[in-house]
């Protein structure tokens, strides 16, 4: 059941001009998100997750350079729009807060401290809808109540610092969803929250996806959260996507050594006494990206003379499960043979 993708990111390359020279933050990233689908984007800090997410709304600073062949196609009424081609703020309005909404990691810092939560919600509605101020206020209060904020009409007139942490993030979600976007980008929405509140917020988001039928790009470094929320997951390392596939495939049969490493680093309930195995080494500085496979400097299975020279291509393993690793090639062949025998 492949429906038309909501948003299609093609060959996204992002570079930053800095004093130290050009820094490549993201290289040749491609993925689709279908309506109603939750795509998890996983990676360590510095892997380019947030930068990629921001590029969907062209929110990166003025020193950003996008690749020549990079495209971000957004499905809209009629023809799809290439977001990267939009430049005037008025044109960008349709993606910024209209078709796409974003939730940030720090709910406290993402509300302006001296403007009431309600004013910020109404402002967004006035920009994107034809509602009157009064209607916008009613809708905002309704949304606040919908995300489980009690006494919503009083809360509407309060400032973010008067909210508790979980309440702030719920208010952020209410604000993000109030314009009924097609895609919600959630940039580590639960990282700054307590574990119990995390579960609350995740449940709320799941409910809302069902209700509103939108796509979600869920960014996190926590594979546990991904397993709970996402349909598909993409793993990023140093600006490159190393593996993508359904959550079940990627977690049960990780094909890339980095994904395996991330999974091994998770504590396991059934073997609490076992030592955790972290991914060895440090993430290299983006100024000196390794040649060949970007992961070879930390990969235990790196093939000398190959991984540090050639860039591995994408290897298709199963339906939609793709990994960028030379080791996966043999696995893929086996998979293909298996598929043949079944046929």
């Amino acid at each position: 059941m492949m429906s038309e993708p909501l948003i299609s990111v093609q060959n996204l390359t992002i570079r930053f001009r800095t004093d130290e020279g050009l820094i490549t933050a993201v290289e040749n990233l491609s993925f689709d998100i279908a309506p109603g689908e939750v795509l998890g984007l996983v990676g360590e800090s510095g892997s380019g997750k947030s930068v990629s997410a921001k590029s969907l709304m062209k929110l990166n600073g003025s020193n950003t350079i996008y690749g020549d062949y990079s495209r971000i196609m957004l499905q809209s009424e009629g023809a799809p729009v290439d977001i990267l081609k939009l430049s005037r703020p008025r044109d960008l309005e349709i993606v910024r807060g209209g078709a796409i909404s974003m939730i940030f990691q720090e709910p406290m810092a993402s509300f302006a401290p001296a403007i009431t939560v309600g004013d910020q919600m109404v402002e967004q509605l006035l920009i994107h809808t034809s509602l009157t101020k009064k209607q916008a206020k009613e809708l905002s209060i309704e949304m606040l109540a919908r995300v489980g904020i009690s006494d919503a009409s009083r809360r509407f007139g309060q400032y973010a610092f008067e909210f508790s942490g979980g309440m702030r993030q719920r208010a952020m979600i209410a604000m993000a969803l109030s314009t009924k976007p097609k895609l919600l980008i959630a940039d580590e929405p639960t990282t700054a929250l307590d574990v119990t509140i995390q579960a609350q917020v995740i449940d709320l988001m799941k409910d809302l996806v069902d209700e509103f039928g939108m796509g979600i790009l869920f960014i996190t470094h926590d594979l546990g959260v991904i397993a709970q929320t996402a349909d598909r997951v993409a793993v990023m390392y140093l600006g490159k996507m190393v593996e993508i596939g359904s959550v079940r495939d990627v977690i049960r049969r990780p094909a890339h050594p980095y994904t395996k490493g991330l999974l091994d680093a998770l504590p396991k309930l059934e073997a609490l006494d076992e030592l955790l195995t972290p991914v060895p080494g440090d993430i290299p500085s983006p100024l000196e990206r390794p040649r060949g496979c970007v992961f070879h400097t930390r990969c235990a299975q790196a093939i000398a003379g190959r991984c540090d020279v050639d860039v591995p291509g994408s290897v298709s393993l199963a339906d939609g499960h793709v990994a960028a690793c030379f080791l996966a090639e043999s696995g893929a062949n086996e998979g293909a043979r298996a598929a043949e025998t079944v046929a």
Binding site: F111, A112, A114, Q120, Y159
Partner: protein, 336 residues
């Protein structure tokens, strides 16, 4: 509301304590000058031909109450100033300081406040633009101009403008009034005449304050611009001037309001010297007169005290204003 009144009263009390402290500092300084008022006045008389004896001095001291201890004299000075607004008599001129200062102090304060207003009138928009602009050339030019503003003292600027206008236009551009209005009572024409001449002192007094304010606004703006809530607002589709005014500018306002008192201080710093160069007949030149020429510590103390008092008053108002406009301060004031 009650808490707000309480807050205002506390701030007012603190302002008064500060003023008392300042008055003590100023009074002590005046006392530290060798020789007291009696000696100085009689020495001044001496130069005019009268013979002065030690007894005369003692009698004069007793008459002026100078034989009382230091703290008592300070207390009575402060009492007169705070309760009756009376600064006493000038030591040399033997005239009431209030009468001497009269409208001069208000004129000077008016010009200083106008200079401060002018400084921010320029600094706020230019600071916002320079914090957001990506044009390196424009940015560097602005930086250079604001460095020049810091490095070129106002009096030097005043001097240059004056010399230039004298040589080129043959007009000195000095004074606050034309000759025909100098002693005339206030009228519409006099106000117009005043305005046509006051722009130069305002511009010059505002010169380095503008450079400072520009740096403050710029630094605060780029600070706020880097914050997540600005990105979040952008992500909601807010853009352009609306974004700048409603988000970073609004939030940078607090610290800017807070720094107003110190900027006024900066303007006062320049007042006496600029006043001399432009031959303004305000409190500034009177102060210089009192200090440099006649050693009239009473008059000087009164002027310094008045200037400081207006800074303290401004600080008080900005504190209260901040509590009204900034919800974060408001909450800390109201206690939730």
């Amino acid at each position: 509301m009650l808490q707000f009144v309480q807050f205002t009263l506390t701030r007012a009390a603190m302002a008064i304590v500060t003023l008392l402290l300042v008055s003590f500092i100023v009074f002590s300084l005046m006392e530290m000058v060798p020789g007291n008022c009696a000696e100085r006045y009689l020495a001044f008389k001496n130069t005019q031909g009268s013979k002065i004896t030690v007894e005369d001095i003692a009698a004069e001291e007793a008459r002026l109450g100078l034989d009382r201890p230091f703290v008592v004299r300070w207390a009575s000075w402060v009492g007169d100033v705070f309760i009756e607004g009376d600064f006493g008599d000038s030591c040399i001129l033997r005239m009431s300081i209030n009468g001497l200062l009269g409208q001069k102090i208000w004129l000077s304060l008016g010009i200083c406040f106008a200079a401060l207003f002018f400084a921010y009138l320029i600094a706020i928009p230019v600071g916002i633009i320079s914090a957001t602009a990506n044009n390196p050339f424009a940015n560097n030019t602005l930086r250079f101009v604001s460095y020049l503003g810091l490095a070129m003292p106002n009096f030097l600027l005043a001097l240059m403008i004056m010399l230039f206008s004298t040589v080129v236009f043959g007009d000195t551009l000095t004074g606050l009034f034309s000759k025909e209005y100098r002693d005339a009572p206030w009228s519409v024409d006099k106000v117009l005449d005043f305005l046509s001449r006051a722009w130069l002192p305002i511009l010059i007094l505002g010169w380095s304050a503008t450079a400072f304010a520009l740096q403050t606004v710029r630094a605060l703006m780029s600070d706020e611009l880097g914050k997540l809530y600005v990105t979040a607002a952008q992500a909601r589709g807010v853009f352009g001037w609306r974004l700048l005014w409603r988000y970073p500018a609004r939030h940078a306002l607090g610290p800017i309001v807070n720094s107003l008192g110190f900027d006024l201080n900066r303007v006062f710093n320049e007042l006496p010297i600029v006043a001399i160069i432009l031959t303004l007949t305000g409190a500034g030149s009177l102060l210089l007169e009192a200090l440099a020429r006649s050693n009239d510590q009473q008059l000087a103390g009164a002027i310094i005290f008045m200037l400081t008092a207006s800074i303290v008053a401004l600080n008080f108002f900005t504190d209260v204003l901040l509590a009204i406009i900034d919800p974060r301060v408001r909450r800390s004031v109201m206690g939730g």
